[in-house]
């Protein structure tokens, strides 16, 4: 009996893993072409004056996320859409955040002379929130309008409970936070690509074990393969970074996978690196303002926020930061998956 279940499960796994291989090869084969396009369009990133990015002897191309987003959309539409229309939602979220990130990236190019390095925080935040609210509303609404995902969530040791209406604001908040944290994490060669790969793989395993969401498992592993292909080009010293386009789109789709699989409670563990990076940035700004208001002289907690810049100033090399963060992300993913497996 156990064997039948295993073979049934295993059949999907084989298909899904092959999907990951296809995605990786797709990105590897098209990546060089995208690089040429980016270079031709002169999409060079303008470094902020206030960071230590100037140590680079060259300028990086940005918007490299396009080489992940396009193959994932194409592969999902071909292999993973029919009878699984719920996949349209994560794809829609990914594409709309990618579009927002594209605009944001555009203003940060060397060829564009604007005062700011992207959209102003306020406009960006509002648009992000809008997409997040719409996405979580669609998740919550009943069948003809949405996915009828009626607020069911998995809680460790308790099992599945229904949180009802509260799902919408919580869902929107999770999407918004994830998008921004991944965006903040994307500051060092390979860091966001690696940690996203680990997170998608973890959700792939979780959805496999859960068993109801084969489509989400397929999407997760497609993203794993695509991230692996992208990391070929994003290895230090990298000629291209994923940019806001990639980080926001992939952060959005990660949050959507977590919400749809009903296991979003585990997202802070699986994305521990994103959480820490986001928190370090937030705490730095908050403490700076608080101390200025309190004593008049602003004080910094970290030498520079987010955390990876702080560690770089502390003498860690670029690959060291990436590798150590990735290793921690992996250990956290082990713990999270083990949690999810508890009956």
């Amino acid at each position: 009996m156990l064997d039948i279940l295993r073979t049934l499960l295993v059949h999907d796994v084989a298909r899904v893993l092959l999907l990951a291989v296809v995605a990786a090869l797709f990105v590897l084969l098209t990546g060089r072409g995208w690089l040429r396009v980016l270079r031709y369009m002169n999409l060079l990133k303008r470094d902020r004056d206030d960071t230590i990015e100037q140590v680079r002897s060259y300028r990086q191309l940005t918007m490299g996320g396009i080489m992940i987003v396009v193959p994932v959309v194409i592969i999902t539409v071909i292999f993973n859409l029919v009878d699984r229309w719920s996949m349209l939602l994560p794809l829609g979220v990914m594409v709309s955040y990618a579009a927002l990130g594209l605009v944001d990236d555009y203003y940060s190019l060397t060829s564009v002379t604007s005062q700011n390095y992207g959209l102003t925080e306020r406009v960006k935040g509002a648009l992000q929130m809008l997409i997040a609210v719409v996405a979580s509303a669609i998740l919550y609404l009943p069948q003809p309008l949405g996915l009828a995902h009626a607020g069911v969530t998995w809680v460790p040791l308790l099992g599945f409970i229904d949180i009802g209406m509260y799902f919408v604001p919580i869902g929107a908040f999770i999407i918004w936070v994830t998008v921004n944290s991944v965006n903040i994490t994307d500051g060092i060669d390979g860091l966001s690509g690696w940690t996203l790969l680990v997170a998608f793989a973890a959700y792939g395993v979780i959805t496999f074990v859960n068993g109801q969401f084969t489509n989400l498992m397929a999407l997760s592993f497609t993203l794993v393969g695509a991230c692996a292909g992208y990391l070929w080009f994003n290895s230090y010293p990298a000629p291209v970074i994923m940019g806001d386009l990639g980080s926001m789109a992939l952060g959005g789709v990660l949050a959507m996978i977590a919400l749809q699989s009903q296991q979003w409670i585990l997202l802070p563990i699986i994305g521990a690196v994103f959480v820490v990076e986001g928190l370090s940035s937030f705490v730095q700004v908050a403490y700076f303002k608080w101390s200025r208001w309190r004593t008049g002289t602003p004080v910094r907690l970290f030498a520079m926020a987010p955390l990876h810049h702080h560690l770089r100033l502390r003498g860690w090399s670029n690959p060291q930061i990436t590798q150590r963060f990735v290793v921690v992300a992996m250990a956290c993913a082990f713990v999270a998956v083990a949690f999810a497996l508890q009956p």
């Binding site: 084989a14 092959l18 990951a20």
Partner: protein, 366 residues
């Protein structure tokens, strides 16, 4: 019904993953105390003068970091994975024996050692490796009181299980020696061997999990993954410590033994594709060099420098780029290897699906 089955299936997985996380933490803490100890005893490697010039900065990097992986794995396996699973003694013994061989090799190549040498001569090393491998594969093959009675079964993709009988003995010995040496050759860049080993162990962990018969192997594999991953914390470029021959030979041998015990060793060349590529590049370079010298008098090289990672280094890839790209290749190959492993079950599916449905329908009628 399905839920209880699933629960049974995943119970072991949960334990294995927690053990991986445990191994990660233990190794990280152990490494923190090990590094000052290594530094104090001046366990630093003599770097080959004929390697790439960029590697001369590695002069004085600590070596024998493999201890950091091996000791926690042994302790955790004895504590959590040994009772009722005595077959785990074999991989542990393999790891220890090859670890000792590697340690002697490492010791002879230290900066402080008197003689100007880089370890054993090739011949001596190979003889010891082969002797150990023969012993291990004998234990694998022999019937119950002497060995594990692993009677030469091998799983072939799309075909199913097949018994190769006595031939298992030499084949297994060859695989152990080859893997141990291949990992040793691969261990030439910061993080390269560690990452590839972590992924290979992870792949075998997943294969053992999906196979279902080898929960103990799954647990061991994931323990090794956790330990390798923690080692990578200290091995990140620029590395504070290398795993040394101690680590690479021990872990290579244990990888081979896990592959043999899981009966899926045909997939080892796919999952360890980087190890294979590195070894082949090294061997073909040597062979081509000798051949052209004999034929034309002027020796020629196939690669600018063997093994493969040095070749890419000389063509302008950075060290991190080579590591990361090789790791990506291993990752994709492993996904392919796992999905190949899953094809084994297909023929059995048809037969087994019929029987229980009848049983269920009978019980319903009653």
């Amino acid at each position: 019904m399905q839920d209880t089955l699933r629960a049974l299936l995943v119970q072991d997985m949960s334990r294995a993953l927690l053990l991986a996380a445990g191994a990660f933490v233990v190794t990280l803490i152990f490494g923190y105390f090990l590094l000052p100890m290594l530094r104090q005893h001046k366990i630093a490697k003599r770097i080959r003068v004929d390697g790439p010039e960029s590697h001369l900065v590695k002069m004085g990097t600590l070596t024998m970091g493999g201890v950091m992986i091996i000791v926690p794995v042994i302790l955790l396996t004895i504590a959590f994975n040994l009772v009722d699973r005595w077959s785990m003694l074999l991989p542990l013994a393999t790891m220890v024996l090859y670890g000792i061989l590697g340690a002697v090799d490492d010791y002879l190549s230290l900066e402080k050692s008197a003689k100007e040498q880089y370890g054993f001569t090739e011949g001596v090393k190979l003889t010891f490796q082969i002797l150990l491998a023969l012993l291990i594969s004998l234990v694998l093959y022999l019937p119950q009181p002497y060995g594990l009675a692993h009677s030469g079964l091998v799983r072939i993709p799309f075909v199913g299980s097949y018994d190769i009988g006595f031939w298992f003995f030499p084949v297994a010995a060859f695989i152990i020696v080859a893997t141990s040496n291949a990992v040793n050759i691969t261990d030439g860049l910061d993080g390269l061997a560690g990452w590839n080993l972590a992924i290979a162990f992870g792949a075998y962990g997943v294969i053992a999990f999906l196979n279902g018969e080898f929960t103990n192997l799954m647990t061991l594999s994931f323990t090794l993954v956790g330990a390798c991953v923690a080692f990578l914390w200290y091995n990140a470029h620029p590395a504070q410590v290398f795993m040394g021959d101690l680590g690479s030979m021990a872990l290579g041998a244990v990888l081979a033994v896990i592959a043999l015990q899981s009966q899926q060793w045909l997939l080892l060349p796919i999952i360890g594709i980087v190890f294979v590529g590195e070894t082949l590049s090294s061997a073909s370079q040597k062979a081509y060099f000798k051949l052209t010298r004999r034929l034309t008098g002027t020796p020629k090289r196939l690669f600018r420098m063997a093994p493969l990672h040095h070749h890419f280094e000389l063509t302008g890839w950075s060290e991190t780029q080579i590591t990361q790209r090789f790791v990506m290749i291993t990752m994709i190959a492993s996904l392919l290897g796992i999905s190949l492993a899953l094809t084994f079950d297909q023929p059995q599916l048809v037969q087994q699906e019929v029987v229980p449905t009848q049983a269920v329908s009978q019980s319903v009628q009653e």
